[in-house]
């Protein structure tokens, strides 16, 4: 693979922002803008992610800048951490490459009324029970099976469909991004193959970087906002990371196949085939938008059904109904998505298509789309770190709307390739190392654990520091891992 030359063209704007000037390449329509500090930029080296920021800057109808969050790294199509808004009224396009295969991959945080001491003597049993009960890993199906007609309704209605079935309550709906349902979904546009892949995977974690992690709040940075989110020092929480499973992968695949030859038909030249796209107001663009929304609603339901199974495990281990354990949803947020949102561009209100590829929505206090319970403080933003160090809860920041189309980082970002991580793990026992740090890690694959070892990731504290200082989202609470199950 070609390494990037663009790091030499980076211009430092201030201590958290770097510009890739439009003049760096003759096909860029707007500047690239990377949020990072000096160390994160240095660590990026000549990673092709910067080329990907520039590639996205060539998309028709792109507004403002082609953005990258500080967890930026090399992806396919967009970089991971990439944000781009396009204007349908200006020939703007929608690209499956700006969403990814795992449509509405995201995270959800559950709080409990337990504190760390309540886990004494029961943590290992809890983690083993989670591993036994919650399906993780390759090719695992779950206990829930949906017939075609049910799947179509689930993809149209999202989490409210599960509420009708008694598998979600009012707070589960209210505390999801978009109320757990992106409107105007087109489940009828989803292929039979995608439906087949999705029939028995709703409620399964998958593998790769997906997980269910039991954590404890080990630092409160903003007491008022933490209280609004129901979080306090010493409290046990559960963080869930998964997406739309095989159904979403197939929707993306079908869309890319349908888009073969389409960009050329609209006179769009692309620097990367993975950026295949269509104008938002075209039949092809609308078809992808509809099927993508349907897959996104499936993903909200997937995380809801994982949460239900987590609740069942806690009930068994602690011998109390989950409601009495306070196992409530703090928030569920998407980090691979494209959504139509209102934003100001040069003082003009526009309806834009905001692509977030490994980036999290981060709406500030007062925004109409923040749930009632949090509107006075802002939207919760969950940033998983790695399984050895920490994760963060942030809140949508004052500058997010003006600077990043209401977006923030989505994780620590990988520092090592999977190949390099495997090499680094040779001769070591990652599971034992984590145990020595007080983290019980269980995975259905040892290789998965080696590839996901803490050193494979950047330091999440540093990444969070950048978005905090940039005002995209600000620190609320830090969560330390106690135990994790992975695929």
């Amino acid at each position: 693979m070609q390494r990037s030359e663009l790091h030499r063209r980076l211009e430092r704007i201030d201590d958290v922002r770097w510009r890739i000037p439009r003049s760096a390449r003759d096909d860029m329509r707007v500047d690239g803008l990377v949020y990072a500090d000096d160390a994160l930029i240095a660590a990026l080296g000549d990673d092709p992610a910067l080329d990907q920021v520039a590639n996205v800057a060539t998309l028709p109808g792109i507004q403002g800048e082609s953005l990258a969050m500080p967890d930026i790294h090399w992806g396919y199509g967009f970089c991971i951490g990439g944000v781009a808004a396009t204007d349908p009224a200006d020939g703007g396009v929608i690209s499956p490459g700006g969403v990814g295969y795992d449509i509405n991959c995201g995270v959800r945080l559950l709080r409990t009324e337990l504190d760390e001491g309540d886990l004494d003597g029961r943590l290992e049993r809890l983690i083993e029970a989670l591993l036994a009960h919650v399906p993780t890993g390759v090719g695992r199906s779950g206990p829930y099976h949906f017939e075609r007609r049910e799947l179509l309704a689930l993809m149209r209605e999202g989490v409210p469909f599960l509420r009708r079935r008694g598998l979600a309550d009012d707070d589960d709906v209210a505390h999801c991004e978009s109320g757990g349902c992106i409107e105007d979904a087109g489940p009828e546009l989803v292929s039979g193959l995608a439906l087949e892949r999705g029939a028995d995977q709703c409620g399964t974690v998958g593998s790769g970087n997906h997980f269910v992690e039991v954590q404890v709040v080990d630092r409160v940075a903003d007491a008022a906002v933490a209280a609004a989110f129901g979080l306090a020092l010493g409290q046990v929480c559960v963080l869930i990371h998964s997406g739309s499973r095989g159904l979403g992968y197939q929707v993306c695949d079908d869309a890319l196949r349908a888009l073969r030859g389409v960009p050329a038909r609209y006179g769009i030249e692309l620097p990367d085939r993975q950026l295949a796209c269509a104008p938002l107001d075209s039949e092809e663009g609308q078809a992808y938008l509809g099927s993508m929304r349907a897959a996104a609603n499936y993903a909200f339901c997937n995380r809801q059904l994982i949460a239900q199974q987590v609740r069942e495990v806690f009930e068994r281990v602690f011998e109390r109904p989950w409601q009495r354990l306070g196992l409530e949803l703090v928030y569920d947020v998407a980090h691979n998505i494209a959504k139509l949102e209102s934003h100001q561009v040069d003082g003009v209100e526009k309806l834009l298509c905001v692509h977030r590829k490994g980036a999290t929505r981060a709406f500030p206090a007062g925004h109409a789309e923040v749930p009632d319970a949090y509107r006075a403080v802002g939207q919760p933003v969950m940033v998983p770190g790695d399984m050895g160090r920490a994760s963060w809860v942030l809140v949508g920041g004052p500058e997010a709307m003006a600077r990043s189309f209401g977006s923030s980082c989505h994780g620590a970002g990988r520092a090592l390739s999977r190949k390099a991580a495997l090499k680094a793990a040779k001769g070591r026992d990652v599971r034992a190392e984590l145990a020595a740090r007080g983290v019980i890690a269980r995975a259905s694959s040892r290789r998965g654990l080696d590839e996901e070892q803490p050193d494979a990731y950047k330091d999440v504290d540093r990444v969070v520091d950048v978005v905090h200082r940039a005002g995209l989202s600000t620190r609320v609470a830090r969560l330390r891992p106690l135990g994790v199950i992975k695929g």
Binding site: M1, Y101, G208, Y249, R257, V262
Partner: protein, 145 residues
């Protein structure tokens, strides 16, 4: 080594080399399976699946090129693994027109004998390339993990 892992930060890159295009498609399939199961040698040949790919599917754009065919072939195998719950270990590919016919032998996934490594989410178009070299054919493909 007919195939090797190539560094990619988030996912996995594969570099595959073979004397013919048919062998390239067979080696690419082997490489894909080696990502899915930790020890491909643990997979026995108990059943054979047949595949037929037309280069121009119903939604295809202009004439498919060798890279598109590689993409479609690997994607077809991923779906077979997921829906039929099989692991495949031996492949025979025959190019036919602009498409292919293939057979693949393997067995159903048995958690007691097969240690699974990755769920490969998808094949990507990013950096996808199939090219003729002095010694035969070479392919580059990045898969989403």
């Amino acid at each position: 080594m007919p195939w090797q892992l190539v560094d990619h930060t988030a996912d996995v890159g594969l570099l595959i080399e073979a004397p013919t295009r048919e062998a390239l498609l067979e080696e690419a399939a082997q490489a894909l399976m080696a990502l899915i199961v930790e020890d491909p040698a643990s997979v026995e040949e108990r059943e054979t699946l047949d595949f037929e790919l037309a280069a121009d599917g119903p939604a295809a754009g202009p004439a498919a090129d060798p890279a598109d065919l590689l993409f479609d072939w690997l994607q077809t195998l991923l779906v077979a693994v997921e829906l039929r719950r099989v692991l495949l270990t031996r492949f025979q590919v025959r190019l036919e027109g602009r498409g292919l016919r293939a057979s693949a032998s393997g067995e159903r996934i048995d958690p007691a004998r097969h240690r699974l490594a990755h769920e490969v989410k998808a094949i990507t178009y990013h950096g996808l390339a199939v090219r003729a070299t002095r010694d035969g054919w070479q392919a580059e493909v990045i898969v989403d993990i």
